[in-house]
């Protein structure tokens, strides 16, 4: 076959690895792939590592999780504990909880693996979240990466589902109460809620089926979907090539960074071991989910200060914030003889629904407003897109208010304030927090842009004070070099795009709305400094410092 023809090529690899590669290549023909990827360029920036952390935590989860499956038994049959943890000796419990205790106390390294698994799971969702914030604030979701942003959003939902199914498995008191809350939320769904609850639990809560079912979801279905999404995600990263931060020598037509082999591969590969090491360190030193303290699940007791894992917190917090009764107004209606329990349904579905709807559609919303159909491979610095940054911080603040509400009781006990007051304040912040965050963030972003402009035009402050012959004191400003200057001025600053008539010469109502949004997006703007302005600033000569004071006023009136 073609292998023989390849073999005839008078080419021998210099290294042993090269010869092995050649051997494999003659049999599978991988040289095309290696040629494409071997030296593929990846831009380097600390903020690009969040996605890597997520990927590596997932690998750690697969490895530690596989170990745990060898010992975990997801049965809800009754048994009596006879392991080495004496406080629970002879206590009646499910086989699932029994095997979780055995993993913790009777299998060498079992506790370590459980803690690695749980810490890695917390880290997985956290790094996913931070990675998505990075992508949002730098505008990396723009064309051509909108679909990959959606895949990322799906991954976040899957990660949360995977986390929830996972921490329910030990069948301890804490996770059982978590399931009970889920059951309550499911029952609030109109028409089919009761049926879903009975089908999920195999009868009445808690039944004897749920742990086994969650187990299949947790170790098979959801991880398989996560894996599939990760493959699609990475495939698209390869197709698009990575984005890069703006700077001298970087533009939408190129990609600047280190070649995959050896530097980037070494750094990324080494980083896997670092992430693993840090997770191991946490598992060694910090207890997570001490199920032996909670006891087996029993519908009667509950511990004070119960909380879900952090990523479910915002839903739990929303549940806490919603009042059930305001004065004498009940949020539970009876319509045509059926119960609509809005005090559960609204907080469980609406905030999460809004967050994920906006998250999934945002790339298209911004594209519609800006009418920008170009490809973007150079990122925005967050300050250079003030309105987008403000929207992101507003959303993040909203999320954080709900998340904080999930700890309202702990806030009250730790800071010695009334629980009711904490809830009232958080209810107010639920509505006011995002508005406040939007205004403040936008102002901060514009102020930072003005500072950049200032430095670009007048140079950096040297801290050297000079007295002029007529007695005036000025601070000497040193001009920037071309590269630093370009970092401050090399960005796009769009202006509002007025409504345009369509092909029939009509300005539609939708177009007017778009124009209004465009005005809202871009009317407050700080344009990048231009060479003409720089020349003008220089011609002011020694009066730079004074002039800059004047200009500051001009900029901010």
């Amino acid at each position: 076959m073609s292998a023989s023809s390849t073999a005839e090529v008078p080419f021998t690899a210099k290294t042993k690895v090269g010869r092995i590669t050649d051997f494999v290549d003659q049999r599978v023909g991988g040289s095309g792939i290696l040629r494409e990827f071997g030296r593929k360029v990846f831009p380097d920036h600390w903020s690009f590592m969040f996605g890597e952390v997520a990927l590596y935590s997932f690998v750690i989860l697969l490895m530690s999780g596989t170990f745990l499956t060898f010992f975990f038994d997801p049965s809800m049959a009754e048994t009596h504990y006879s392991g080495s943890y004496t406080p629970l000796y002879n206590v009646e419990m499910s086989v699932a909880y029994n095997s979780s205790l055995n993993i913790s106390f009777d299998i060498r390294g079992g506790l370590f693996f459980r803690q690695v698994h749980h810490w890695a799971a917390l880290l997985f969702v956290a790094s996913l979240g931070v990675h998505m914030l990075r992508v949002f604030f730098t505008g990396a979701f723009r064309k051509p990466r909108e679909m990959n942003w959606v895949v990322g959003g799906v991954l976040l939902i899957l990660a949360m589902a995977e986390g929830f199914t996972g921490y329910s498995l030990p069948d301890d008191l804490l996770s059982g109460n978590g399931l009970r809350i889920i059951d309550g939320v499911i029952k609030s769904i109109p028409v089919i809620g009761t049926y879903i609850s009975f089908f999920l639990f195999g009868g009445e809560f808690p039944g004897t089926a749920i742990i086994g079912r969650l187990y299949v979801l947790h170790i098979l279905l959801v991880p398989a979907m996560i894996l599939l999404m990760i493959v699609i995600h990475l495939f698209m990263v390869v197709v698009h090539k990575h984005t890069q931060y703006p700077g001298p020598g970087r533009n939408d037509g190129n990609v600047v960074g280190y070649p995959l082999g050896p530097v980037y591969a070494a750094k990324a590969g080494g980083f896997f071991f670092i992430v693993f090491g840090v997770v191991a360190l946490m598992a060694a030193m910090f207890t997570i989910n001490p199920i032996w303290n909670y006891g087996p699940y029993d519908p009667s007791p509950v511990s004070a200060g119960t909380q879900p894992d952090w990523y479910i917190g915002f839903v739990d917090g929303a549940l806490r914030l919603m009042p059930g009764v305001v004065n004498d107004f009940h949020f539970e209606y009876i319509i045509f003889g059926h119960v609509l329990t809005l005090n559960v349904l609204l907080p469980a579905l609406v905030p999460a629904g809004i967050i994920f709807t906006v998250l999934f559609t945002y790339p298209w919303i911004e594209r519609w407003i800006t009418k920008d159909d170009r490809e973007h491979h150079v990122l925005d610095r967050p300050r250079n897109a003030p309105t987008r940054t403000a929207i992101g911080v507003a959303g993040f603040t909203w999320y954080c208010v709900m998340w904080a509400a999930a700890g309202s009781d702990l806030i009250a006990t730790h800071f010695h304030v009334a629980l009711n007051d904490v809830t009232y304040w958080l209810r107010a912040l639920f509505f006011l927090g995002p508005v406040f965050a939007f205004i403040v963030t936008k102002r901060v972003a514009l102020a930072l842009q003005r500072k950049d402009r200032e430095i670009a035009l007048h140079g950096r402050e040297t801290g050297r004070i000079v007295r002029l012959p007529h007695g005036e004191f000025i601070e000497v400003h040193a001009p920037l070099n071309d590269y630093k200057q370009y970092r401050l001025v090399g960005f796009e600053s769009p202006v509002p795009l007025p409504a345009e008539p369509n092909e029939h010469g009509v300005v539609t109502r939708k177009e007017k709305r778009r124009a209004a949004l465009s005005r809202w997006f871009f009317e407050d703007r700080v344009a990048p400094a231009t060479p003409a302005e720089l020349a003008a600033a220089h011609s002011h000569g020694h009066h730079e410092a004074i002039e800059s004071g004047d200009e500051q006023r001009t900029l901010s009136h």
Binding site: I189, Y195, G269, S300, G305, V344, T423, V489, G490
Partner: protein, 356 residues
């Protein structure tokens, strides 16, 4: 609004527009010149970096040894105390951490200090070429044409119908995941069995409670008599039947019409399952007579028949009608008069069923 805050000096009437550079912009000066590292110029620095990398890899070896020693040398079966487990967990973790961090930091240091650090610029290519696009569009058109699906709507429509219906069995096969709810949520174990009233017993041991045991200010966690003896479904029965029993000064109780006989000398029993999403309402504030759910902080006022006074719950906790039997033990005179726990779609229907 104009350009009032566009940041350009007041003499400048023009601003840069997206995509079209109306104003002259700064030229990209290109990649900054590459700066050599110490290890590139000084062979001794390179040698030093090499040694550091080797030391880091050596630390990894030590970590692996720590792991193996603590795995095999610490035997949980001869000494299964918590302290031993904790020590082993710490050593296994530290061993793994050293093993991994040694390799990781070693490789990264190697890459940063010794591997070439020239940044490379690579052209981006279009995701698709125009030629490919046209060819692909033609292929799709040809395929659609060759199937003749446009010319034969009968085939198309029947296919759509069949495909739309085909997933239904895939949904239907999940029908046996659970039984139909029917009116299971409407009843609890408290209903009198064969005319015999159920005694209130202590959770978890199931010993009956005498009215005289319940002093003013005290609270009992209660399960129905016979719960612990259930052959199966104990937890599911308990999840509906748990009750809180408290005694108040009878003058403190506000009693609505029809409930006059539901308490016994100020002893009242309420469902412990929160009407919000079903957590156990486990906290009793003796002084204020408030019941608090630790999950979402719904607060119920015991003196007002557990009316909601704070938090996300919307309905009062259901009250269990109680009395005493001939021997002085507390008994439930009937089941709850409404379904307990969180609201659900058929709840109102069930409530009417119970009271009919």
């Amino acid at each position: 609004m104009g350009n009032h805050s566009d940041g350009s000096p007041n003499h400048s009437g023009t601003v840069a527009t997206a995509g079209q550079n109306a104003v002259e912009k700064f030229q990209d000066p290109g990649l900054p010149p590459h700066r050599l590292r110490l290890a590139d110029t000084d062979p001794r620095a390179a040698k030093r970096a090499e040694r550091q990398v080797a030391i880091l890899f050596g630390i990894s070896v030590i970590g692996t040894v720590i792991f193996l020693v603590s795995y095999f040398a610490i035997d949980l079966h001869t000494d299964g105390s918590i302290a031993t487990i904790r020590t082993q967990n710490l050593l296994l973790g530290l061993g793994t951490a050293f093993a991994m961090l040694g390799i990781g930091t070693g490789i990264v240091h190697w890459a940063k200090a010794l591997m070439p650090d020239h940044e490379v610029s690579e052209e981006r290519h279009a995701i698709r070429t125009e030629e490919d696009r046209q060819a692909a569009v033609r292929i799709v058109d040809d395929i659609v044409e060759e199937t003749g699906i446009k010319r034969r709507p009968l085939i198309r429509n029947t296919l759509l119908g069949a495909v739309a219906l085909a997933p239904l069995p895939a949904l239907a096969v999940f029908g046996d995941l659970g039984p139909r709810p029917d009116d299971k949520l409407a009843h609890t174990m408290w209903a009198p069995q064969d005319g015999k009233l159920k005694r209130l017993t202590r959770d978890p041991d199931g010993t009956p409670i005498k009215a005289s045991d319940v002093t003013i200010g005290s609270a009992f966690h209660v399960i129905p008599e016979g719960l612990n003896e259930l052959p199966e479904g104990k937890l599911s029965a308990k999840a509906k039947a748990v009750v809180l029993l408290m005694r108040l000064n009878p003058e403190d109780l506000t009693i609505s019409k029809g409930r006059e006989t539901w308490n016994y000398n100020g002893i009242v029993a309420y469902s412990k399952i929160c009407t919000h999403v079903g957590c156990p309402v486990a906290l009793y504030e003796q002084q204020t007579h408030h019941l608090l759910c630790p999950c979402h902080q719904s607060t119920f006022d015991l003196t007002k028949e557990c009316k909601v006074i704070f938090g996300p719950a919307s309905r009062p906790l259901p009250q269990l009608p109680i009395s005493v039997d001939a021997e002085g033990y507390l008994v439930a005179t009937s089941d709850f008069k409404e379904p307990v726990g969180p609201s659900y779609w058929e709840r109102d229907e069930h409530e009417r069923l119970i009271n009919s």
